[in-house]
């Protein structure tokens, strides 16, 4: 039998029962639509979260004081570990593959200028921060390379804070007061937006040593090391551990690579996407049962036709493929409609809630259509085999 004839025979029997075929295909369409929509949301969420993290670059290792232990509380509570200091950061700069080392202190304080006051997040940082975190300075410059242990009282403003305090006024060179101390503004950062709820534009960056004395703390909360892309991350971690162990007398820091964070996060989000796909698959299963039902009915109704085809010289395999073909066409058409349905609803959702990223994943789209066709094949096998094995004499005699 020629392919074109095969398709037209299959098509004609599906068209002979338009409503029935439509409803059966709809069952698959709803299932595929659900899978596509849910995985699109899952995938969108994943890409959104990963983008939030990787915007700072992936060649960063974070060093935090204290050992992360399984006891639940940081050992630091008991004060047995040594704090991370500016000197530790300076020592880490000596590592050959360390391109930028940024000491970090964070706190909240009121920032005042010309009678205006705004309580905001203060970051104590080092001059290498823009390079390490791919942040751009919009006006002026970032904190200069002063003596890290005794830097000048200079400040760089986040773009939002600058707007709030200075309006249209020029801020460069002006003196602001942070928690009672005076700082001179040397630069304004480019807008960066919020990351996971933190507004990076509503901040002030000051030298880490200044921030430590401002907040009266004796240690940094973190040192970030940006390393050469050519260097293996294990080498970097090993190097940092060696330097700090030598300085502290023992290994009392926690080192987290960006890649570790991404891996964990990606793993969690993968499971999430897979889980919603599984939920959608339940409706696919229901659709598959619909196909089995309809094809079983069709074989029963068309026993005469099957007997006739056999009498006219159709082989068992031809009868089998005709009915299998019908099941597959039903499922594939339903699958295509489901793809349109799912992506359409996704677009609609994106339009309605712009904050929720919807990203149709090509992988899942192809997978969904392949699954639809496979479902048609599986659902069609039993009825089609029954059709092929009918005794032609019995089949011709059926009422």
């Amino acid at each position: 039998m020629k392919t074109a004839d095969f398709l037209s025979l299959t098509g004609s029997s599906l068209l002979a029962h338009r409503l029935r075929s439509l409803l059966t295909a709809l069952g698959i369409a709803v299932g595929i639509g659900a899978v596509v929509l849910l995985t699109s949301i899952g995938e969108g969420l994943q890409q959104f979260v990963l983008a939030q993290f990787t915007q700072f670059g992936t060649t960063i290792v974070a060093v935090n004081p204290g050992k992360a232990t399984t006891a639940g509380t940081s050992a630091g509570v008991f004060g047995t570990e040594r704090p991370l200091t500016i000197e530790d950061a300076i020592a880490l700069e000596q590592l050959p593959y360390a391109r930028a080392v940024v000491p970090f202190v964070q706190g909240n304080a009121a920032v005042e200028y010309a009678g205006l006051s705004r309580r905001t997040t203060i970051y104590g940082a080092g001059p290498a921060m823009p390079e390490a975190f791919r942040m751009a300075v919009a006006i002026g410059g970032f904190l200069p390379e002063d003596d890290p242990t005794a830097p000048r009282a200079l400040a760089v403003l986040g773009s939002k804070l600058r707007g709030e305090l200075f309006r249209d006024e020029n801020s460069l060179g002006r003196r602001i007061t942070i928690a009672g101390s005076r700082f001179r503004v040397v630069g304004v950062m480019a807008a960066k937006g919020t990351v996971l709820g933190f507004d990076l534009d509503d901040t002030v960056y000051i030298p880490a040593a200044r921030a430590m004395s401002l907040f009266n703390v004796n240690g940094l909360i973190e040192i970030d090391v940006m390393y050469d892309e050519d260097t293996k991350v294990e080498t970097v971690v090993e190097g940092i551990r060696r330097v700090l162990t030598a300085r502290h007398g023992r290994d009392d820091v926690t080192i987290t690579t960006q890649q570790q964070m991404l891996d964990v996060l990606g793993g969690v989000l993968d499971v999430l996407t897979f889980a919603v796909a599984a939920i959608g698959s339940v409706s696919l299963l229901v659709g598959a049962i619909g196909i089995v039902t309809i094809m079983t009915i069709a074989v029963n109704e068309r026993r005469n036709e099957i007997g006739l085809l056999r009498a006219l010289g159709a082989r068992q395999s031809q009868v089998l493929s005709l009915f299998l073909g019908e099941a597959i066409v039903l499922a594939a058409a339903g699958g295509l409609a489901g793809l349109l349905l799912g992506t359409g609803l996704g677009q609609l959702l994106q339009f309605a809630i712009p904050a929720l990223p919807v990203q149709p994943s090509l992988f899942y789209v192809v997978l969904a259509e392949s699954i639809a066709i496979t479902i048609g094949l599986l659902a069609g096998v039993l009825p089609a085999r029954r059709a092929a094995r009918l005794d032609p004499v019995e089949a011709l005699r059926a009422e």
């Binding site: 039998m1 020629k2 074109a4 004839d5 025979l9 004609s12 029997s13 068209l15 002979a16 005469n304 036709e305 007997g307 006739l308 085809l309 056999r310 009498a311 006219l312 010289g313 159709a314 082989r315 068992q316 395999s317 031809q318 032609p392 004499v393 011709l396």
Partner: protein, 230 residues
């Protein structure tokens, strides 16, 4: 051409074994016009189905043109049905969703012929039966007599050597039945081998050779006059 020797065919019905055919020995030559008569349940349809390779004998041998066709595989038997045997049924058995032309084209399509190649064959088969102007009608738009003509066109489009007809006029009125019979007899004149099952003695009596069956056995085999003028 058709040689049946010691053919048995039994069915298991419950715990009873029913002999539908019992030691049938029959030889039918090419171009013969044979009627098989008998009461219902006498095995005449079973014999026809067996000759048409829709059924296999429980015992005995069936040679078609010298080949033992009972030994053929399912695929080979399908091939023989497709190319050498035409069926005409009491219930017409047209596919309701296909037009007359599409129904006639079915055996050619199953054999893998392209649409271009089969188009003239289908047209001439319909033409020969006076159905050319109805080729795009669906079965439901045709009368009983017209439907049977389409069915005959379908049975003859492959130019088979044997035409098997099971009560071909059973669902037709007097007039249409007479027309259909005339068409079948016309095919005999053109050289086809016609084997027709009927329970109507008036119809069966028209055949050159008349077989009678009872309880699965051939009980008489008579040569009548051609086209049996009464």
């Amino acid at each position: 051409m058709i040689e049946l020797s010691h053919i048995d065919r039994h069915f298991q019905v419950g715990d009873q074994r029913v002999k539908a055919l019992d030691d049938i020995n029959l030889h039918i030559g090419a171009g013969e016009y044979v009627s098989i008569m008998g009461p219902s349940g006498s095995g005449k349809s079973t014999l026809l189905n067996l000759i048409g390779l829709l059924d296999r004998p429980s015992a005995g041998s069936y040679r078609l043109d010298g080949t033992d066709v009972t030994a053929l595989s399912d695929v080979e038997q399908a091939q023989v049905r497709n190319s050498q045997i035409g069926f005409v049924f009491q219930m017409f058995h047209l596919v309701p969703r296909l037009t007359a032309a599409e129904n006639v084209a079915l055996p050619l399509l199953l054999a893998g012929m392209t649409a271009e190649a089969r188009q003239p064959l289908v047209a001439s088969a319909l033409e020969a039966l006076g159905m050319a102007d109805r080729s795009h009608h669906r079965p439901e738009q045709l009368s009983g007599g017209q439907r049977q003509r389409v069915a005959i066109a379908r049975a003859t489009v492959t130019k088979p050597r044997v035409l098997l007809a099971d009560e071909p006029t059973g669902n037709l009125d007097q007039k249409a039945g007479g027309d259909v019979l005339a068409i079948l007899e016309g095919l005999v004149d053109a050289g086809i081998t016609l084997i027709m099952v009927t329970h109507d003695p008036a119809m069966g009596g028209r055949a050159q050779r008349q077989l009678a069956m009872r309880d699965g056995r051939l009980v008489s085999d008579e040569q009548g006059s051609p086209h049996g003028d009464p």
